[in-house]
């Protein structure tokens, strides 16, 4: 009988836990450790952030779902991993600190036979002075609570616009190494839609400030589309939308600091600039959730398991090499941790071998390069793959082969709503196959048949459908496993 522990209950960890509960024979245990009591469908935080959805529409409590599925839920944050056990036992263990009000601060050591690290991102607002809602001067949509605050700030801005004041709104990335450009892209066009709906767009200056060197990069090095017999780019496609909606773009920017009403940033030419703003939604860079690792005798072995970024090292090729030598094969397939065949790291928690977008530095040496996105569809697939590998180990023994799902062979959809309403909504909907370009296989890096971008009402319906489908799936309602990740 095996004890499986899943750290994190986001898209990846929650998916892994649900599949484990389905795949493991009875008698085995699944324990989920998460500091949050609620599951959040993060893509819909965008709609909360403009006031079109309530927080309660994008979150639900985890405990009842886990109770129904026979999963033990520990509301706590993991602080340390003992992959070879400790002085008392050779069985692996994780140290956790409880976060629920009733048991806050309580520490315990949980033993495991198999571990899935799906701890997600640490939101590093601290990397940029003045960034973020916790004592900073900008809002965020990274969590449902952040999005509620963002909606209130946006409402206040719209009221000032209605009163006749001119306002500048800046949306984008709060650091040169941020990821999730798609979320900022989506938010800026939702804000545009809100301003138009309120009849105040003409008094508002709307600026998208990003670390992408080109529009349409999205942290995946952009895309090539085939349209009407021509190859075109996501840069041209995105640029068209920006021009049509009158959204200004500042590209290749690293935010140095945010002061009240002023964002100071450096561009790739090394020059420093400032932009005055009245409303700012700037996303933070991500880091790994701080976790230490210890050997049995208490010696710290954190660098063995984790990259300096805090993300866990898995079956990727981490050899440093120039952009021209990056290969699809560098990317992990099984997400099994380096040196430990009973630990997996999935979703944002695994250390990517390198960026996907071309890495760039400013003339001053400042890194201004999007980090690789590994959220949403790929994140769920990784969680499922880890669960399947573990279930096979339990059922067939230690020689069972790992299941695989490389981001260099896996597709993803990015649906960025640019307005809402069943008859009036719109979305920029993209699909890419694969996420990580494979230039050995495809001349443009991706399969042109599946790499597409389109704008229209249908995209809005897709986004709405995904909202309801994934909430249904995450609640483990009947037939949940039939909905693909």
């Amino acid at each position: 009988m095996a004890d499986v522990v899943v750290l994190g209950a986001g898209v990846s960890g929650h998916t892994a836990a649900l599949h484990l509960s389905r795949l493991l024979p009875s008698g085995n245990t699944v324990t989920v450790v998460s500091p949050n009591s609620q599951w959040n469908w993060i893509p819909s935080n965008i709609w909360v952030g403009v006031g079109k959805m309530d927080k309660k529409q994008v979150v639900f409590p985890l405990a009842p779902v886990y109770k129904k599925k026979g999963i033990r839920f520990v509301q706590a944050r993991a602080t340390a991993i003992w992959p070879r056990g400790d002085e008392l036992s050779g069985q692996g263990a994780v140290d956790v600190e409880h976060t629920a009000a009733a048991t806050a601060g309580k520490r315990e050591r949980i033993r495991y036979d198999y571990l899935v690290n799906a701890t997600g991102p640490q939101l590093k607002f601290g990397a940029t002075p003045g960034l973020g809602p916790h004592g900073g001067h900008t809002v965020s949509v990274c969590t449902a609570d952040h999005a509620v605050e963002a909606a209130a700030a946006l409402r206040a801005t719209i009221e000032r616009l209605k009163a006749g004041e001119a306002q500048t709104l800046v949306v984008g990335m709060g650091h040169g190494t941020c990821t999730c450009e798609g979320a900022a892209f989506e938010y800026v066009f939702n804000v545009d839609h809100e301003l138009r709906e309120a009849g105040v767009r003409d008094r508002a200056r709307l600026v998208y400030l990003t670390n992408e060197a080109e529009l349409g990069d999205f942290g995946v090095d952009g895309m090539v589309f085939e349209e009407r017999g021509f190859q075109t780019t996501s840069e041209l496609w995105a640029g068209s939308l920006f021009r049509e909606r009158g959204v200004e773009a500042i590209l290749g920017a690293h935010v140095i600091r945010v002061e009240p009403g002023v964002v100071r940033y450096e561009t790739l030419d090394g020059l420093e600039h400032s932009l005055e703003f009245d409303f700012g939604m700037l996303l933070p860079p991500f880091g790994g959730v701080p976790l230490q690792a210890f050997d049995r005798d208490g010696t710290e072995i954190t660098p063995q398991l984790f990259a300096p970024s805090g993300f866990m090292k898995v079956d990727a090729d981490y050899t440093p090499k120039p952009y021209e030598e990056w290969r699809a094969d560098d990317w992990p397939r099984s997400y099994q941790a380096v040196g430990y065949d009973n630990i997996w790291a999935v979703g944002i928690a695994f250390a990517p071998p390198h960026q996907i977008s071309r890495p760039r530095k400013s003339a001053n040496g400042t890194v201004i390069a999007p980090s690789p996105p590994r959220t949403g569809m790929p994140s769920g697939v990784m969680g499922k793959v880890a669960a399947m590998s573990i279930a096979d180990r339990v059922r067939k023994g230690p020689t069972a082969k790992n299941h695989e799902a490389s981001m260099a062979a896996m597709g993803a959809a990015c649906v960025a709503s640019v307005g809402e309403g069943l008859r009036t909504g719109s979305a920029a909907a993209m699909t890419m196959m694969p996420v990580v370009p494979d230039y050995q296989r495809y001349p443009t890096g991706r399969d042109l048949a599946d790499t597409r971008g389109e704008v229209g009402l249908a995209g809005h319906w897709v986004k709405l459908m995904l909202h309801h489908l994934f909430l249904y799936k995450a609640k483990a309602l009947p037939g949940w496993q039939l909905i693909p990740e």
Binding site: D202, S240, F242, G411
Partner: protein, 64 residues
């Protein structure tokens, strides 16, 4: 066109860090209509979902 009253040329002033998007293609009135056409968008909805399902079948499990 009221929906596009705020459309700008987005030509970057000299010395500005704002990207010059004045050459980005603008959708025609016909394209804008098609983006909101119910029958056409219903078809696009079906096609988009079919493409997602094809990607799921092709790439979500790469076991050999």
């Amino acid at each position: 066109m009221s929906e596009r009253v705020h459309e700008q040329q987005l030509r970057a002033p000299s010395g500005s860090t704002v990207a010059d998007l004045s050459k980005a293609p603008l959708p025609t009135a016909s394209t804008l209509r098609k983006r909101m056409s119910l029958p056409l968008q219903l078809t696009r909805f079906v096609v988009f979902n079919a493409r997602i399902m094809r990607m799921v079948l092709k790439g979500h499990s790469q076991d050999h």
